[in-house]
Amino acid sequence: MATQAESATLDHQHHGDGVRRRDFLNVAAVSFAGVGGVIAIAPLIVQMSPSADVLAMASIEVDISKVVPGQGIKVAWRKQPVFVRNLMPKEIAEANAVDISSLRDPQTLAQRTKPGKQNWLITMGVCTHLGCVPLGISEGENRGPYGGYFCPCHGSMYDTAARIRQGPAPLNLQVPDYSFKSPTVVQIG
């Protein structure tokens, strides 16, 4: 310490113009170490994002030929449940009868399904409140007063277009990216 202080004093005396070489060296050294330190943190942060094997599971194909109107199946996609439901004409009519402006998350059934396939309601089986799996996809489960899904955790109720109608959830059940590979095969993801 003492020698450092001495040399700093000497340095100061030699360069009376106020800008010292040591100041520049200090700033440069600290900035270099600082930027390097920040960059070194990057791998520690990104290692926590989904790894390649998790991302590789990103798309699946589902055979829907066995799902008759009124039935639904639950399939796993990205380790999360997806509800594939074949709506009955009555349920489609119920969904279309709702005044869109009265909804918390206004969307029509047509916006939530593929053109010409309005009976195939494909949504995530993940409540938009805190991520529980709502009931109602399997036969005999409580579908709630709106005939869609009912989340047992905090009582969110979804209608036959899987739109939020009552309870704490802020949004409709999310519609994943999917496409019809053939009339009976859906690719999700």
């Binding site: 989904p50 998790v54 805190l130 799996v133 047992p152 955790c153 802020p170």
Partner: protein, 442 residues
């Protein structure tokens, strides 16, 4: 740092002197928890819970380290099976270690809650102990994170869905929320990446807690402990050396309290847990009723109390309120405007303190059981009152209340003039005669 009459460390043997010159650890211990640390003589049993919390932290670290020798952090049945088959049935004494660790967590929270409410009643958070209080809150937050991640590790249904719900808090924040959630989980739902990282952090955080505990005690030892009268220590007659007086009292009380812990661990080990956690995690089926462990119930009630969108979505309000309910406590030293520390001398504050205790109990009840309209309403009322207590009632009470007369000193409040007779002979003989001290103090 300490009071002027604190006994200095005197190495007694040649080895102790040799050590003291080179690495004076015995000196540090003597001054921190030995005969060299003077403590108010009037502490009641509520002052034992800090030491008890330290004991439970130690129990958790020791049982946790040995459990980790048998645990496998695998989401494909490995975590569930190593806990419920290997450790609970096959490992020698594994059931005992696991039950001790499980109930140790609950008891750690029991003693910590008593410790916190002790601080709330006796005003231990007031100057000059604000940092002691805030470091304590940091410990509490770290404890919650550690306990949550530990609960996920057995990978039962409650583990899985607890992880889903709690990481779901983050998705309440617009735009950044969902990416943060995915980043925390390492996937789109809790899975292998989640259980491995939670195990890593669950092993790390207790040692971080240990470090902050050292800071907590360090900050405490600058002004020294508060006491039930809240009156500052004035002279040597107000204090006793930590050792042997408080080591003995802490030791006896730890024995008594650990007996309770052992009784629960042996005879009702699952009483504080949830049976659904003995079902392996199933991402496709939610339990009918997800609840966190009992020590989170009041916060869970606050979360659930927001059911109506108002400018922001209800879910975001719930999450913000839940986080603020704890962050608010960091401001407590400045929200409570009364200069009097102890609730014993604050007639109005005392009533509100007990209302707060009832309020938190009601929140726990509202948060721990399935939401019925009545429970939600009670939870909402209790949530409002919780915030009212800290933000409105405390600042006002401090201004309008007339406190009761405070005792002149700690010793006069407990000794009524007979201190010469009541003090142990060894202490009494070393102390200057009473009259002299009083003159000096005056």
């Amino acid at each position: 740092m300490s009071f002027s009459w604190a006994k200095p460390y005197e190495p007694k043997s040649a080895l102790a002197r040799w050590m003291d010159d080179r690495m004076p650890l015995p000196r540090l211990v003597y001054g921190a928890i030995g005969g060299g640390y003077p403590v108010p003589r009037n502490l009641n049993y509520f002052w034992n819970f800090g030491v008890l919390a330290g004991i439970f932290l130690t129990i958790q670290i020791v049982t946790g380290i040995v459990l980790a020798m048998h645990f496998m952090a695998s989401a494909d049945g490995g975590a569930f099976n190593t806990v419920n088959q290997l450790i609970m049935r096959d490992v020698n004494a594994g059931w005992l270690l696991r039950y001790a660790h499980m109930n140790g967590a609950s008891f750690f929270f029991i003693v910590t809650y008593i410790h916190i409410f002790r601080g709330l009643y006796y005003g231990s958070y007031k100057a000059p102990r604000e940092l002691v209080w805030m470091l304590g809150l940091v410990i509490y937050l770290l404890m919650m994170a550690t306990a949550f991640m530990g609960y996920v590790l057995p990978w039962g249904q409650m583990s899985y869905w607890g992880a889903q719900v709690i990481t779901g808090f983050f998705s309440a924040f617009p735009l950044v929320g969902e990416p943060i959630r995915v980043w925390l989980l390492g996937g789109y739902a809790p899975d292998q990446a989640t259980v491995t990282r939670f195990f890593s952090l669950h092993y790390l955080l207790p040692f971080v807690i240990f470090g902050v505990v050292i800071l907590h005690i360090w900050a405490l030892h600058i002004p020294g402990s508060s006491n039930p009268t809240g009156v500052d220590v004035k002279n040597e007659r107000d204090t006793l050396p930590f050792h042997p007086f408080y080591t003995a009292k802490d030791g006896w009380f730890a024995g008594a309290f650990l007996t309770l812990f052992v009784i629960v661990t042996y005879f009702a080990p699952d009483y504080l847990g949830h049976p659904d956690n003995y079902i392996p995690a199933n991402p496709l089926s939610t339990p009918a009723h997800i609840v966190p462990e009992w020590y989170f119930w009041p916060f869970y009630a606050i979360l659930k109390s927001f059911t109506v969108n108002f400018v922001l979505p209800a879910k975001l309000w719930g999450v913000l309120a839940m986080f603020s309910s704890i962050l608010l406590l960091f401001l407590l030293p400045w929200l409570d405007t009364s200069p009097v520390r102890s609730g014993n001398y604050r007639p109005i504050f005392k009533r509100f303190f007990w209302l707060l205790v009832i309020d938190v109990a009601l929140l726990g009840w509202a948060g721990g059981f399935a939401p019925t309209p009545m429970r939600v309403a009670v939870g909402q009322a209790a949530t409002i009152y919780y915030f009212l207590h800290f933000l409105v009632i405390l600042p006002i009470v401090g201004r309008i209340e007339t406190p009761l007369p405070l005792p002149d000193s700690i010793s006069s409040s407990v000794l009524h003039g007979e201190d010469a007779e009541s003090a142990p002979a060894a202490i009494a003989s070393k102390r200057p005669p009473r009259a002299k001290t009083v003159t000096a103090a005056n």
